[in-house]
Symmetry: C2
Subunit: 217 residues, 2 copies
DNA sequence: TTTATTCAAAATTACAATATTTTTTTAATA
DNA sequence: TATTAAAAAAATATTGTAATTTTGAATAAA
């Protein structure tokens, strides 16, 4: 269940990635190796490995011989990312609802329960657990599509999800109640094996999030 | 136009990737750093950077603390990759045909011309230019979807295309005439801005390639 | 036959050397 | 004097090597 991070290399990679997604490393920020060495207490070797990997995933850009910087953000990029998320996640959702077994249902119920708990807290004004909220939102969406029978699709989706999420954090404000209701609808439709409805709601969910974020940029 | 490779790091990355796609490094092959050091005349630092990047793209798998190996192949993986290629490339093709301008048409005509030339040679029995054939096939498919207005989509597609291609090389035999005809049909449909037909042919093109490869595995 | 222990192989990481880019300073020209 | 060009210096990225850690195999003890 837990994602054990054993080597310094992989934990450094995870930390930088998290800092980019949550904005601690701002879009377009210059990533000097000397600076990162202090910040993450790792050697250039380790840091470059992490940065190269992040570059290949698109969280970082590498300017040959001139270092790395955090991938910039733009309205156009957000639109591309949102369209891709709709494409990938809806495709996966459809087959997942068709194929999902009892384990899938159980896991989905569990994920939705945890998401509801944190959503209630957030609604009550507790904004100190954004990381946990991200995790539970992710686990819910992941649980929905997990039975899609394509590891390759899930892998691509995971990256796109994170990129979409960075924009949400960027504008800080949350859609709140509306998004919570969409999660409910998706959950109900999925359990009822109504993939058509589930997909429709998911697309709306992503598209409204896009519009909300766009208007705040 | 040309993809200049300036640092040892990026050229090493490209060489290993090519060796994986063309099978010089066989599926599941163990990638010991000492061995690679000789083969690519590069240091472990450089090699690890390349391998980590390839791992993040899925051409290599990294077993923490126990080294790297070439990603294995399987029928199931090929099916996943083919489905993803259809999803991504058909989506891109649709918008590309809608948006493509005169430059797009010109580039497409050029790409198709070069592809036809090499296809004729291949049909005549010249099998010594598989790398060039790969390049022209790629450039043709890329030219078709280039105007899709999503760099993010094109980036994901590029990786999936390469993974699909590795399987084609793996079974060595080529569909030949059939595939050539499909390229023609796609080209005509694209220029006629008949995206429905183009998409239909593209899906058939990929699916027949899949079946051809599957049956040889 | 199983469990420790030791040894060898291999991966990970730090550090140092090299090469490249960027900035600053100096010199030359209009 | 202002402006451009050249040279030098500083900052930074890239790459190689060596030290450290971890794993896997071989041997010895239970």
């Amino acid at each position: 269940m837990k994602n054990y991070i054993s080597t310094l290399g992989s934990s450094t990679y995870e930390r930088i990635k998290k800092d980019i997604i949550f904005g601690a490393l701002a879009p377009s920020a210059n990533l000097k190796l000397d600076g990162l060495k202090e910040r993450y207490t790792a050697s250039v070797t380790t840091l470059r490995e992490a940065l190269k990997t992040l570059a290949s995933e698109g969280f970082v850009e590498a300017a040959e011989q001139r270092g790395f910087f955090v991938s910039p953000v733009s309205k156009n990029d957000l639109i591309e990312i949102s369209d891709l998320r709709i494409l990938l996640e809806c495709t996966a959702l459809k087959t997942s609802i068709t194929n999902g077994d009892a384990d899938w249902e159980g896991n989905l119920v569990s994920a939705r329960h945890k998401l509801q708990m944190i959503e209630a807290k957030m609604r009550a004004g507790d904004t100190g657990q954004i990381e946990l909220w991200k995790r539970y939102d992710w686990e819910f969406h992941q649980a929905l599509i997990e039975a899609c029978n394509s590891q390759n699709l899930l892998a691509l989706h995971a990256i796109i999800y994170d990129k979409y999420f960075r924009y949400q954090i960027l504008v800080l404000t949350n859609r709140g109640d509306e998004a919570v209701a969409e999660h409910c609808e998706m959950f109900e439709a999925a359990l009822a094996r109504d993939s058509q409805t589930a997909i429709k709601v998911l697309e709306r969910h992503i598209r409204l999030g896009l519009e909300h974020t766009l208007s705040a940029m």
